[in-house]
């Protein structure tokens, strides 16, 4: 019996390690200074998917990502960790999408993939921190959702049991498949790359990547069809253009500002005993502490 899992993943700029050169002098983000990485919570999601794959006979795990050509990197990365393959949804029609337009495009792509039993994604992406795309994809597909998942405890008789980690507690919930599950960063880390898989999938590529590399490897892809990463443009999915990109995005950015904090005049101290003691005396005297 087949059991098809789709993991929604995103390639994001690494906003957690923003250095001094992350902002340009004109106040815009210097994307070149930020490395593109696999969104961390999507890796947690991939791990949950791979665990199910190892438990359920005939289960497959495919990645679906929307982004520019280079986002195929995270599909390969997923294959190195045990995924079966993936789909890249790419094209300028998708540019300017807010979370709703993104969710609509992803939902169209999932319908095109066909029979999907479980959709898993990270709770949120670190470039926007919105946590909206998972639930919105679920709504677009008319599926139920379980968010903030920390662990998939059981999957049997078409029912999934999940432990959710919430701000102030834990919940165990159960629901019927198909379902959309969003996974927390507190879930298990993703297994490392596997050397054998890395060798196997090193040349996995999308049609655009193959084109760029030249045609030397045509035989390779004919002989090893698993190396083909599916790439879809807007015409490959059934869609209504008004719900895509800017026109499908109800939110508009009015203004972007660089964040500037007003500097204070600070007193500089060293760690010497006398200086720390006089500071503590001062804080006690002015009733800040004590």
């Amino acid at each position: 019996m087949s059991f098809n899992i789709v993991v929604l993943a995103k390639q994001v700029p690494d906003t957690r390690n923003v250095g001094k050169d992350a902002m340009k002098a004109d106040g815009t983000v210097n994307r070149a200074a930020l490395p593109a990485i696999y969104n961390p919570e999507d890796l947690n999601a991939l791990e949950q998917a791979l665990r199910l794959k190892s438990k359920i006979e005939g289960a497959t795990v495919h990645i679906l990502t929307m982004g520019p050509a280079r986002a195929a990197e995270i599909i390969r990365e997923s294959m190195y960790r045990g995924a079966d393959g993936g789909y890249l949804l790419s094209g300028r029609e998708f540019a300017g999408s807010d979370t709703l337009a993104t969710s609509y495009a992803l939902a169209c792509a999932i319908r095109k993939i066909g029979k999907v039993d479980l959709i898993i994604c990270g709770r949120q992406a670190i470039d926007g921190d919105t946590a909206q795309v998972g639930p919105q994809v679920a709504e677009k597909l008319g599926l139920p959702q379980i968010t903030y998942a920390e662990e998939i405890l059981d999957l049997s008789d078409n029912k999934i049991t999940i432990k959710r980690r919430l701000e102030r507690g834990v919940e165990i919930v159960k629901g019927s498949l198909p379902m959309v599950v969003t996974v927390n960063g507190s879930a298990a880390n993703c297994r490392p790359r596997h050397a054998k898989l890395t060798l196997k999938y090193k040349h996995a590529a999308t049609p655009s990547e193959k084109q760029e590399a030249g045609s030397d490897y045509t035989d390779l892809y004919d002989a090893h069809p698993y190396l083909n990463i599916t790439e879809w443009g807007v015409n490959d999915i059934e869609h209504d253009i008004q719900w895509l990109g800017l026109s499908g995005s109800p939110t508009k950015v009015k203004q972007i500002e660089n964040v500037v904090f007003t500097a204070k005049e600070s007193k500089r101290l060293t760690a010497a005993d006398v200086e720390i003691e006089s500071l503590m005396k001062e804080l006690i005297a002015n009733h800040t502490i004590g």
């Binding site: 139920p144 507190s186 005993d273 003691e277």
Partner: protein
């Protein structure tokens, strides 16, 4: 019609602070926009909700009281809001940026095709000019939020779709009673008209909710640590200093990500916003996303071995040194000089 709606988060019959903060903000927006403030309570045994929210100036309280609506599950609460909003056509809908609001908000916004902005740090009213379409929109909700890891602040608007939806974290807005004697209208909803039986597809088997033991938001003194603290072991020093001074321990996102501290202690745009009397920042470099959550502290002491750490710019006192060296001295000299 065209009023402001706030979704109330309810646990054990008590309305959460985040919802009361949003009612306070909603009240002032309603005054500016000359409309009414309405609230939605969905759950079970909600008799005491009115008494809790009317003092915040709620003109109309919609109550959906049904055993099946508590504890919260996504689809029934979504259907309730979606169908209620279709009837009432609010111009603005606000909810907490909590594990409930961030589960519910996106689903409602998708069903209504109305824009939602997550984790707003400020909400204002203003005009928006769509130059391409040559159209000017008056009285839009400016949904102001940090983006890109907090390096930029974006103002988002929803020109054409209603309601304009936003989530806000607990502690970001101030909670203020308008009139303790004020009583608005109560409207009991017939739940079966809004929620279908087929919405109850996810079952909550077990539930352990803790009342937060921490009160970081309300603590007058916060000793907070960043990645520079170096280890969970060194974080114990922070706990020691906090216990000595009668404060709480906070942490930056980097320290939480590194596993030095629990997530509920996180301060910053993706954590709690605090305004203590004294904020002692230990080994915190001062990423914007952290500073945004503590810059309104009355006094800031920064302890860092990097004399050029960005946080120093907003600190009243900058101590150049290591946490291991400075914190024990602060404890020692406090004990010696207090009382």
């Amino acid at each position: 019609m065209n009023n402001i709606f706030v979704y109330l988060e309810i646990e054990d019959g008590i309305v959460g602070d985040v919802s009361l903060e949003l009612l306070t903000k909603g009240r002032s927006l309603a005054k500016q926009l000359n409309c009414k403030l309405e609230a939605v309570a969905a759950g079970y045994k909600l008799d005491q909700i009115g008494a809790q929210v009317f003092p915040f100036g709620v003109d109309v309280l919609h109550i959906a009281d049904d055993k099946r609506l508590a504890p919260y599950t996504s689809l029934p609460h979504t259907s309730l809001l979606v169908n209620l909003f279709k009837e009432e056509k609010p111009q603005i809908a606000l909810m907490g940026a909590t594990s409930i609001g961030r589960d519910l908000g996106p689903r409602v916004s998708s069903a209504l095709f109305s824009g939602l902005t997550a984790d707003c740090t400020s909400l204002e009213v203003g005009t928006y000019e769509d130059k391409k379409a040559g159209k000017v929109y008056e009285n839009l909700l400016y949904q102001i939020r940090p983006a890109f890891g907090g390096n930029i602040v974006a103002t988002i608007v929803n020109p054409d779709c209603r309601p304009q939806m936003a989530t806000v974290r607990e502690g970001v807005m101030k909670k203020e009673i308008k009139d303790p004697k004020f009583v608005g209208k109560t409207r009991k909803l017939d739940v079966s008209k809004y929620v279908a039986d087929t919405d109850f597809v996810v079952e909550v088997i077990e539930r352990h909710m803790e009342k937060s033991k921490l009160n970081i938001k309300g603590s007058p003194i916060i000793v907070s640590g960043g990645y520079g603290v170096g280890s969970a072991e060194n974080f114990k020093l922070l706990h020691e200093l906090a216990a000595t001074l009668g404060g709480e321990v906070g942490a930056s996102r980097a320290a939480v990500d590194a596993g030095f501290s629990e997530h509920e202690r996180q301060i910053g745009q993706t954590g709690t916003t605090v305004r203590p009397k004294l904020y002692i920042a230990c080994g915190i470099s001062g990423q914007i996303q952290h500073i945004a959550g503590m810059q309104e502290s009355a006094m800031i002491i920064a302890i860092n071995n990097d004399p050029k750490a960005p946080i120093n710019a907003i600190a009243d006192y900058v101590i150049t040194g290591t946490v291991e060296d400075v914190l024990p001295k602060m404890i020692k000299f406090y004990k010696k000089n207090s009382k």
